[in-house]
Symmetry: C2
Subunit: 239 residues, 2 copies
């Protein structure tokens, strides 16, 4: 550990990682993040969702024991009650513990249909439940329960950067970030750091791929000094 | 069947339905759609994802037999090859058959984190594969393989309509529709009909809920006469 990193030593980072293949480009980005952040003295935990065979479906089994209303199953209501009674399924409780302890949560995934892969959507649906991540009508957006934490999306795309511009057929990349960064992370209170976008790694040279991995590692050297992006529609849609 | 519906008799509709509870408001919307469209003489198929225990994860098991590259698993590449070789998993093939036969696909779901529940995201990730729904570099967006079909999102929300306005904390509802309607459905070629939004059914009276169900049934009476929404960012973000 070098002296300049003393102030970040002991910071806790959770990487929620959603790729099937340990030799993938996504794995390289995850691995370099683990290496760089560990070098800084951070404590890094990885939730490797495919390796864990993480359950994405929001189902009855997520509540241990009796339902508060056995007549009509309402997932949101039941998981809220189960959270308070500590009767959520153990895989949800495990993930909530990791989030609770983290100062920074990094999501590493390939873009599937302008969004996260279903296995990661399931992590969001099941882990970020009412009571844990937010509460209504008071504790959401800037008052969400995770408001003292940072979050960062590290996304790889199939399409090139040109497609994801205002004039490109897929529109500005900020458009697809809205439901994730605003509707999910900001809703839970997270301060959102700028996304790390690695465009079209499949269609560039090995050298360029290495460059993308290196620039991610480089960014992480000073990630703790970054200011969050503004939580406003104008960041996403301009004005 | 009444005479005015003769031109729609025989039309095929697939309802992809993602709610756990047969007595839910989402189920009521699904049921009334089945009833109304059947009354018109349409052939209606329902994919009840939770009842089917539909697999949301994009995994190796989706490809039967050998991989084209066993060294490094690339889900997109492998499912594209498997589609061409007819070696996709049978649950994917079954859903693709239903989509292929459908004139209209209706997605009925509660909004989870500004998007579809993971089980429905998994349906999109796994069923709408390259080769079946689109191909690169030629057959996507207006040239997507599903371009002769209509699609319609019927969404229930937790939040009220006021939250989902330009001035509301959750932003205009069109913002969260972008990845689904444009990034997914339009990408595959679907002509997208206006979404059916049922806001905050949990927080209104039983009478108002019945009104929402009735207005959905009413809309479906003339759904075949509707014009698709324009496939442009301006529909979503104004200008």
């Amino acid at each position: 550990m070098n002296p300049s990193s003393c102030n970040v030593a002991g910071k806790k980072v959770l990487i929620v990682y959603a790729h099937q293949e340990p030799r993938s480009f996504n794995a390289s980005l995850k691995n370099v993040a683990v290496a760089e952040l560990s070098k800084q003295g951070c404590m890094v935990t990885v939730s490797d969702l495919y390796a864990m065979d993480f359950e994405p479906r929001a189902i009855r089994k997520d509540i241990i024991g009796d339902l508060s209303n056995p007549e009509v199953f309402n997932y949101g209501v039941e998981t809220y009650e189960a959270y308070k009674k500590k009767s959520l399924a153990s895989d949800i409780i495990d993930e909530q513990k990791k989030v609770r302890e983290a100062d920074l949560v990094i999501f590493q995934f390939p873009l599937y249909w302008f969004s996260v892969p279903a296995i990661l959507k399931g992590w969001m649906d099941r882990v970020l439940c009412q009571g844990f991540a937010f509460d209504i009508p008071e504790f959401f957006y800037n008052s969400g329960f995770l408001k003292d934490k940072l979050a960062l999306l590290s996304v790889t795309t199939g399409g090139t950067a040109e497609l994801y511009t205002k004039a490109g057929v897929s529109g500005d990349f900020r458009y697809f970030l809205w439901p994730l960064q605003h509707g999910t992370l900001h809703f839970c209170g997270f301060k959102v750091l700028a996304p790390q976008l690695s465009f079209a790694p499949e269609f560039v040279s090995e050298e360029e791929r290495k460059g993308m991995v290196a620039s991610w590692a480089q960014r992480l050297k000073t990630v703790w000094e970054e200011e969050p992006i503004p939580c406003m529609p104008s960041w996403y849609f301009g004005q």
